[in-house]
Subunit: 214 residues, 2 copies
DNA sequence: GTCTATAAACAGATAGAC
DNA sequence: GTCTATCTGTTTATAGAC
């Protein structure tokens, strides 16, 4: 019987270090020496495990994509919802979980800024993020949205509204120093996170309502 | 009588190059040689005009802050609006102008990604962005929002709702490659920009309506 | 103000011992 | 798998001519 492993695998430690340092200082702003030091290993192990610094970057992208995918799946019912109310409830649960992770979890800061950097770097990561991450999840929410409003899942307004929701959530993470300061908050703890979630869900309900009627 | 100057000042060219290259490749990802080449000058002039690469970065932050401030001022009425309808109209005009600039203008991509990077880099830029840029503009919109809804300008829900609006707009710029692909759009031209603006303004109206009634 | 040439530090990758 | 030492190229900053 093994206890909780005390010594994490070197490759996992490197991915962890990559997420933190790439997120905080950017890919080019982070040296392989820093990465190795954070992961308590040596520079050569980056090339050994990932073929080089660029390989570690790609592994970090995949790591975040897998994490978010798992989170959203955990909030999905095993069966597609039967009623409009059930569909709306599931969207709201997903949004709540996403806000708690993205806005409320301190570790999410590095992950989110890392992924946004990858997005704006216009490298191959965009294709990975789109194909294996954004497109399937976005489509799934479109289906729920259609169920909740009676609209077509591929309706332009539906697709756009979901992007707007994602944008709100990500901004509350990225601009957190600005938001907290303006709100007079001492950082964003569980209480503040709930208030952000309440706002996003209220906006969500308004949009769903609008989509049902016009 | 002088005609339109054909030869831009070296320092202005360097700021232009900084916005483009820092935005696309990040601060550390951009070399002083690239900056000088883009500005049609030599590396030494960066130190001469800005004291070094870091000084050019700070000058770029200030340059963007001034541009956006000017844009929002241009959409402001000389007199504070007298009625709730006038206040709402002015918010809508501002949002429209912001979407057209941020989402619809190709040059905005570099500026927005540059500023977002500065925000997440946790450097001194955050203080500058907050104090000279975000806080006064946010406060001004809060005042309009209060006029439009009858709420207090410092109401927590008001302040948060405005951040959510900004988040939507910025996301449609940053995630433009993902959005265009999912929408089946061939990039985001004037027509697509208008549809994004329509969505953001519809969301804005819903939120204002909600704030008036509860 | 502009530019070339160079200095001093640092980068990522890798050879080879263990 | 892990690690040290080193190779090769590139970085920013700057000295000094014009």
């Amino acid at each position: 019987m093994t206890t909780t492993p005390q010594k994490p695998k070197t490759d996992a430690s490197l991915i962890q270090a990559g997420l933190q340092l790439f997120g905080r200082k950017g890919f080019e702003g982070t040296s392989t020496r820093e990465l190795a030091a954070h992961a308590n290993t040596n520079v050569a192990s980056i090339a050994y495990h990932f073929g080089g610094k660029a390989g570690l970057r790609a592994a970090c992208v995949k790591s975040v994509a897998d994490l978010i995918a798992g989170l959203l799946d955990a909030e999905s019912a095993p069966q597609p919802p039967a009623t409009a109310e059930a569909a709306q409830n599931q969207i709201e649960r997903m949004v709540g979980a996403l806000v708690r992770l993205v806005v409320g979890t301190p570790q999410a800061q590095d992950m989110v800024t890392f992924m946004l950097r990858e997005l704006t770097d216009q490298g191959d990561a965009v294709d990975v993020i789109y194909a294996e991450f954004l497109e399937p999840r976005h489509r799934a929410i479109c289906d729920l949205w259609a169920k909740a409003t009676g609209r077509d899942p591929e309706d332009e307004a539906v697709k756009l509204a979901i992007f707007a929701m994602i944008g709100q959530i990500l901004y509350f993470r990225v601009a957190q120093p600005l938001v907290a300061r303006r709100m007079g908050w001492d950082g964003i703890g569980p209480d503040e996170t709930r208030r952000v979630a309440d706002l996003v869900i209220a906006n969500l309900r308004d949009t769903l309502e609008r989509h049902r009627h016009d």
